[in-house]
Each structure stands twice: as structure tokens, then as C-alpha cells.
Symmetry: C2
Subunit: 301 residues, 2 copies
């Protein structure tokens, strides 16, 4: 890829929009945006000087590299549909970089479809959040053909502070599913510890300090502990996403014949949040289920 490639982005939610902003400011022309939610996408398109398109095929036509950051497996299947409006139309020579957290099998399927259309595809799973997307400091784990990885590496370097080629298509998604499964378990466990601490009348600031210095320490204690205590659940990574990702891991476990009681209990908690209308809170909002002072309010919602 000699000249600076033109970028198209499908899915300009919190992550997709910030990836676009970062690439824009590092000199990549972001030429085409597509999102099911037109009004949000419209704002981002104005900001980046990109064309807001209504047809997926138009993203492919306008771009050299098409980045997808969609919601789930169904959305991935939709944008890469074999028939109808699809990113695959006229895709020969193009390369797809798929950043959403979806099932590993989807990445294998998309790679096959892309190849049949004369294109390449790469999975680039993000193990970081919104502010890292904006700053170009994502933790990116890639899966696919090595040649696809090398082809877009200069762009991926602008998006990430840590870039890792994990293996063939689907492998990065497996690792990502495991990362989020363990992160979600630690989050749910922390919410139980702080919730019980509150019930016992302990000073939660002190409790978090002690957790940080002992075997209870974790990354989620740093990122979510204070938010749990302060009831601050502005969304970086939603409970609904957490439920989805734990679900991907549990599907893999099921296929492997493994029973994972902690992951299952965690999934049930995030599902309970969704059922209570709290799915769009940040994952730290799981504390709303474990703090006695908040539980009834949460369940009334």
C-alpha cells in the first residue's frame, strides 16, 4: 500500500468515531462513514470531512481500507452479506480491518468471504477503551494472514501503543473473549466486595486502598473501584457489551465441554442489569446490584 490509503469506517459509535478522529489527525483521509444511526454518524462525518453514505457498497467503493466497528455477530454478518447491499460488492483489492468484539468463527467466515471477493481481511481486536482509541494508544491483537497484517501495519501503529499479531483469523477474538471474560468476573467480584464492605459499615476508600495493596488488587479496581463507590457509571464499556462478551466466551466453553461457574454467574449479573434497564450503564454499574443501599432503586428502574 504505497500512497496513504483512504479510510472508510462502518460503525461510528464511541469507538469507531474516535478511531476515525485519531486517523484523521495523523494524516489519513477518512473518506466515508456508515452507521445504522444516521444522526450520530452525520456529526462525525462533518467533523472529519468524510462522506456519510447510506449504502455499504459505497464505503467499499470510496475507500482502500474499510474499518468495521459494529455491535455484534449479527451486525458483522449483515455488513458482509453475500447478497444485497454489502461491503463485499466491488471489494477486489480492498482490505477490511474488523475491530468489533465478535465470535471467533465470524472472523474466519468474513476472511473466507473477503477472499472470495478478491479482498483481504484482518481481525484487530481492541483490548482498551474509548480514550485509548482517541489517543491512538489501543491495545490491538490481530488475527488473519500475516500479509494482511503487514499491509495495514503503518495504520495500526497510529491507532495503537501495543500491537500484537496473535495468529490466524479467529485467534485474536478468542484471546479477546478470554480477556473480557476474566475482566468481567473481576468486575463482578469487586462489586461484591465493595457492596459487602458498605453493608459492614467500612470506609470504602480505605477498603479500596487495602485491596490495592493485597491479593485483591486488579486492573478493574483501578478503573472501576472509585466509580462503583461514587455511583458514577458514565459509560466506557457498557454492561450490555460485558454480557455479550461473556456470552461469546461461554459459547466457546460450551463447545469445549467446559463448565465455568464464575463466568456463568457473571453473565447472569450483567443479564440482570439489562433486564433491569441498566444495560447502557458502564460495567461498573454492576455495583448497583450489590450495594444494599442501591439495590431496590436499581430493581425498580
Amino acid at each position: 500500500m504505497a500512497a496513504t490509503p483512504r479510510i472508510g469506517i462502518v460503525g461510528v459509535g464511541r469507538m469507531g468515531a474516535n478511531i476515525g478522529r485519531r486517523l484523521h489527525e495523523t494524516g489519513y483521509p477518512v473518506v466515508a462513514l456508515y452507521d445504522a444511526n444516521q444522526s450520530v454518524a452525520d456529526e462525525v462525518a462533518r467533523e472529519l470531512g468524510a462522506e456519510l453514505v447510506r449504502e455499504l457498497a459505497r464505503v467499499t467503493a470510496a475507500s482502500d481500507v474499510i474499518i468495521t466497528v459494529v455491535t455484534d455477530d449479527a451486525a458483522m454478518r449483515k455488513v458482509f452479506a453475500p447478497t444485497g447491499d454489502s461491503l463485499l460488492t466491488g471489494a477486489a483489492g480492498k482490505i477490511f480491518v474488523n475491530c468489533a468484539t465478535v465470535s471467533p468463527g465470524i472472523h474466519v467466515e468474513v476472511e473466507r468471504l473477503a477472499k472470495a471477493a478478491g479482498a483481504q481481511s484482518l481481525e484487530a481486536c481492541m483490548a482498551s477503551s474509548i480514550s485509548q482509541a482517541r489517543a491512538g494508544t489501543l491495545y490491538l491483537m490481530c488475527g488473519g494472514e500475516r500479509s494482511a497484517f503487514e499491509r495495514v501495519k503503518p495504520m495500526l501503529d497510529k491507532m495503537s501503543s501495543s500491537l500484537r499479531f496473535v495468529g490466524k483469523a479467529g485467534e485474536a477474538a478468542k484471546v479477546k473473549a478470554l480477556v473480557n471474560m476474566v475482566m468481567n468476573i473481576n468486575t463482578a467480584g469487586l462489586a461484591e466486595g465493595l457492596g459487602l464492605g458498605e453493608s459492614l459499615g467500612l470506609d470504602l476508600t480505605m477498603l479500596r486502598e487495602i485491596f490495592a495493596q493485597t491479593g485483591a488488587n486488579s486492573r478493574v479496581l483501578e478503573t472501576d473501584g472509585e466509580d462503583m463507590q461514587n455511583h458514577d457509571h458514565a459509560c466506557f464499556f457498557s454492561a450490555a457489551h460485558a454480557a455479550k462478551d461473556s456470552g461469546i466466551a461461554l459459547d466457546l466453553a460450551h463447545d469445549a465441554g467446559l463448565s465455568l461457574p464464575l463466568a456463568e454467574a457473571t453473565k447472569r449479573q450483567f443479564d440482570a442489569m439489562r433486564a433491569a434497564g441498566l444495560g447502557e450503564l458502564d460495567k461498573s454499574g454492576i455495583a448497583e446490584l450489590t450495594f444494599a443501599s442501591r439495590r431496590s432503586a436499581a430493581l425498580r428502574t
Copy 2:
């Protein structure tokens, strides 16, 4: 406490013996040891030049400060029995420093009994393991009367690198129960992540590296991750202890009317280890339940 106080220790298992060694080398005369297991205690007594005693009352008679590091609530009640052979006999002027992880209510009860006998008591909960006890780098959380804390502070300073007065009797035990509850959840969750990683054919060394750099990171990843991968479960903190400590936290949660599904699932896993005869493995041995390659062997034991 003007002169260097004479130390007695009740319970010279892995932790108690190392506390004794540390105090001995820092100039404290360790004069009396007591343990239900006489043969182990005999070795430690020879090493430290202490008297191995067969009556609890003799520990109290020989010592100024009596450190207890016993197994559980029942053992604490036994050594502080109101009648029969007891540490409380002739205890006027003595001070008890209770290091075992037991229910908060026990510390309140022992403080009351000690006071009635003209003695003081202090809870000194340890949030660290065997090597820290040996090196005098324990993380110690104390609860009780401030005057009791100040009285033994010079000795506690020799035992710890971090010393914290948490509040009245029982408060430190509450914090400790929460630390271990959260630690145990993170441990059980990590074992699920690595177990599923194995089933998916992932390189577990790579997976641990990625966990360490992402939201899946935790203190137990550092302390137990490699051991889980390598099947190395030499005991620092036993599965049986983990089950007991999660049980203490769950009792507190029950009293508070809280349901904690992650803590409950974790307790069931450690209970399953005990039932399978694996209770004396290190807590990292929980991986034996989640690695498909090991599960059947573990359950045959």
C-alpha cells in the same frame, strides 16, 4: 512495655513458625510454643530455643505477649476457653495478638474475655503469605483498642512492612475477609480463563502476557497464573483456607441480607477441591477443576 517482651506463640504452622523465626532474629526472646501437632512444633522449638509446652496456661505464664495463629473460629474459642486449660489463666497484664483469619465476632468475644481476665487483646490480620512472614514484610491490619496497638507496635513493626490500625476489634477481620473473598473470586476466574485458553489451543504464556497488559490483570495473575499453567501447586495459601475465608465473608453477607453470586460460586469451587481431596493444594490448584486436561484426574483423586 519497657524491656523486650518475651513472646509465646500458639499455632506454629507455616505462618506461626515464620513469625517466630523473624521475631527471634530481630532480638525478641521466643520463649514458649504450643501446637496441637507436637512433632512439628518440637522442631521449631529446638530451632528457636523455645520451650515446647503442652498446656495453654503455661504459654501465658511464660510470656508477656502471646501471639495466636490458629486455624479457625473453633480453635480460637478453644485456646481462649473460659474454663479448663486456657490462655486466659493467669493472664492479668498480658497481651494477646491474634493473627489468624477468623470471624470478626470472635475478635470481639476474645477482647471481652481478655479484658475480664485483666489482659488486653489485639487482632492483627495478615494479608500476605509465608515468605512475607519470614522476611518481616507482612501486610498487617489491626483492630482493637488503640492502647493495645501502641503497646505492641514495636514488635508489629518487625513483623510487617505495612502496618495499619483499622478500628475497633473485629474491623480488621472484616476487611481481611473481604480481601480474601475478592482474591478468591479473582483466582477462580483466572483459572477459568486459562482453562478455556488451553481448550482453545492458545499459547498460555502469551495469554498471560496479554492478560497482564489488559483489563484482565490482577495480583493473582502475578502470583498464581504461571503456577496454574505449570500445574505447580506447592502450598502458600491452601484451597481449604480459601474455602474457609470465603465462607466467613459469605456469613457476613448473609447477616447483611446480601446475595453474592460470584463469592458463592467461588466457595463452591474451593469446597469441590476439598471434597476431591485437593484441599491442601495451594489455591492455584483450582485450575485442576477448570483445565480439561486435568479435570478427570482431579475428580478421580
